[in-house]
């Protein structure tokens, strides 16, 4: 056997699958040819060397992401034609919003002090959470995407008998806004969408005092509530403060979430598998002492 022939049957020789006669000839060649003998030894050690290559860890939430994509795919496949048409209309509306935004940048007409106006009426009634966790401050949110100045209009009404004060901050706005709350009088808070251009969720933080109690409330509202999202999803959110995790859930499920008096230092991990927003948050909040309530207008988390 010469070198070329040995190379043609090297694998079979090494694996011991050559017919006996050829195997004897290959053995004899190896005894005589140091180069082929070195190759044979080198190939033999390859297997061990290759299997010794370290195996990198699977990325975090690898399988969750797969499941999430499959569910999104299923959800898109199930979507009826009228839903798709509605999505088209929403997209057109969003286009109009962007156009208004650009127009507003060039021709600003709303001053910051106008954002808080007392007494103006709202149009959509938000249902309050169940009685045992009902806050004394009710809120209604209304998206005015098609207005000349696209805004989120928020109406805050103090339901207690005594008056109070409130300080509000909006995500994306460095200023804070203070006003007095008269019992039973609606206070309008207008959030220009220009402030939220890079966000998928509007977040309003309110610290309010009535009588001798102070409460802290965080409200997350999706900016495109009509965009369909899968009701059940799988994903993973690493340990985050409850408010931040709730914001992420609000964005993913397109569902409003209100948090009141939640512990600021408590962190939760939300990693649902094919779960609804309620199921995802319920599992994540277990053991934190917080109460989760589902309302017709979204989810409500109370820390007390």
């Amino acid at each position: 056997m010469d070198c070329t022939t040995w190379r043609e049957c090297a694998s079979d020789h090494i694996d011991g699958t050559l017919p006996a006669k050829l195997a004897r000839e290959a053995d004899a060649h190896i005894q005589l040819c140091p180069e082929c003998a070195a190759d044979m030894e080198g190939i033999r050690s390859l297997s061990a060397e290759l299997s010794s290559l370290p195996a990198p860890d699977v990325p975090l939430y690898f399988s969750d992401n797969i499941l999430s994509k499959i569910e999104a795919q299923q959800s898109a496949a199930k979507e009826p034609w009228w839903r798709a048409a509605r999505l088209g209309i929403t997209t057109a509306l969003a286009g109009a919003t962007v156009a208004s935004f650009v127009w507003m940048q060039v021709n600003p007409v709303v001053d910051a002090p106008n954002r808080v106006r007392a007494g103006a009426g709202g149009t959509r009634r938000a249902t309050l959470p169940v009685a045992e966790v009902a806050p004394k401050l009710s809120s209604r949110w209304m998206l005015r995407a098609d207005a000349a100045t696209p805004t989120y209009d928020v109406e805050l009404t103090l339901l207690s008998k005594s008056s109070g004060t409130a300080k509000c901050t909006i995500s994306g706005d460095p200023h804070s806004y203070r006003f007095t709350l008269a019992p039973g009088v609606a206070n309008h808070f207008r959030i220009p969408l220009t402030l939220l251009a890079n966000d998928s969720v509007a977040s309003l933080n309110t610290v309010w005092t009535s009588g001798d109690t102070t409460h802290k409330r965080i409200e997350h509202h999706p900016l495109s509530p009509d965009t369909p999202t899968p009701r059940r999803q799988s994903f993973g959110i690493r340990d985050l403060p409850i408010a931040d995790a709730a914001r992420e859930v609000s964005s993913r499920y397109n569902i409003p979430i209100t948090l009141q008096d939640i512990p600021e230092t408590t962190r939760i991990r939300v990693s649902p598998i094919h779960a609804t927003a309620e199921e995802a948050l319920s599992a994540a909040l277990s053991g934190t002492g917080c109460t989760l309530v589902t309302t017709p207008d979204g989810l409500y988390i109370s820390g007390k």
Binding site: R7, E8, C9, A10, S11, D12, I14, D39, G42, I43, L46, S47, E49, L50, S51, S52, L53, P54, A55, P56, V58, P59, F62, S63, N65, I66, L67, K69, I70, E71, Q73, Q74, S234, I273, H274
Partner: protein, 196 residues
């Protein structure tokens, strides 16, 4: 002789065929490590590997009804990962061009341009020794078809019969290609050793 998937896996496959995402999730979690590592060794890059392995599992879900029950699910998934890898290579083959012209300024005496190194570093692949880095680089220099067989046979420890099933090639072709791949890798390593 193949007996198909074990009973619990058969049930998971049956349920997946009926649209049970939870059942498929169990299969994904069972094989994610093997498939991801196969993709890492094929691409030499953890980012591409994650994309390829994920796409393979999604393709698996979309075609689960076409899975032959007498085969092993893992072998079937190996085949999908290899196919997705080859599809990606085909798609990207003509994409990775960096124009050198765009940064040349005629008024400048000297022109420099940073060309990004897109290959994953040894840290990303957890390569610890010089020898492992050399082996990894030599493996990445092999043509895709040879690299695929080397990874499947030596790293994933597949048999010749499984290689036939995964690649769809006749046994003779698998054997001769693997033989050439082994010799080619051995030569590259010898050359590298001689150079260093």
């Amino acid at each position: 002789m193949r007996s198909g998937p074990p009973p619990d896996e058969r049930s998971l496959i049956e349920r997946s065929c009926k649209g049970d995402v939870h059942a498929y999730d169990v299969l994904v979690r069972r094989y994610e490590r093997i498939m991801y590592q196969l993709a890492v060794r094929l691409t030499g890059n953890t980012d591409d590997a994650a994309d390829i392995a994920q796409e393979a599992f999604i393709r698996g879900w979309n075609h689960i009804k076409a899975f032959r029950r007498e085969a092993m699910f893992s072998t079937w998934m190996h085949r999908i990962v290899v196919n997705v890898f080859l599809d990606h290579r085909k798609k990207n083959r003509n994409k990775k061009h960096i124009s050198l012209e765009q940064s040349i300024d005629a008024n400048q005496e000297a022109t420099t341009m940073d060309i990004p190194d897109t290959a994953a570093g040894p840290e990303a692949l957890a390569l610890e020794t010089e020898q492992q880095v050399e082996l990894h680089n030599a493996l990445m220099e092999l043509p895709e078809a040879q690299r695929t067989l080397m990874v499947l046979f030596h790293i994933q420890e597949k048999t010749y019969e499984e290689l036939v099933e995964i690649t769809g090639l006749p046994l003779g072709t698998v054997k001769s290609r693997l033989n050439r791949a082994r010799l080619a890798l051995r030569e590259r390593l010898s050359k590298r050793n001689a150079e260093s």
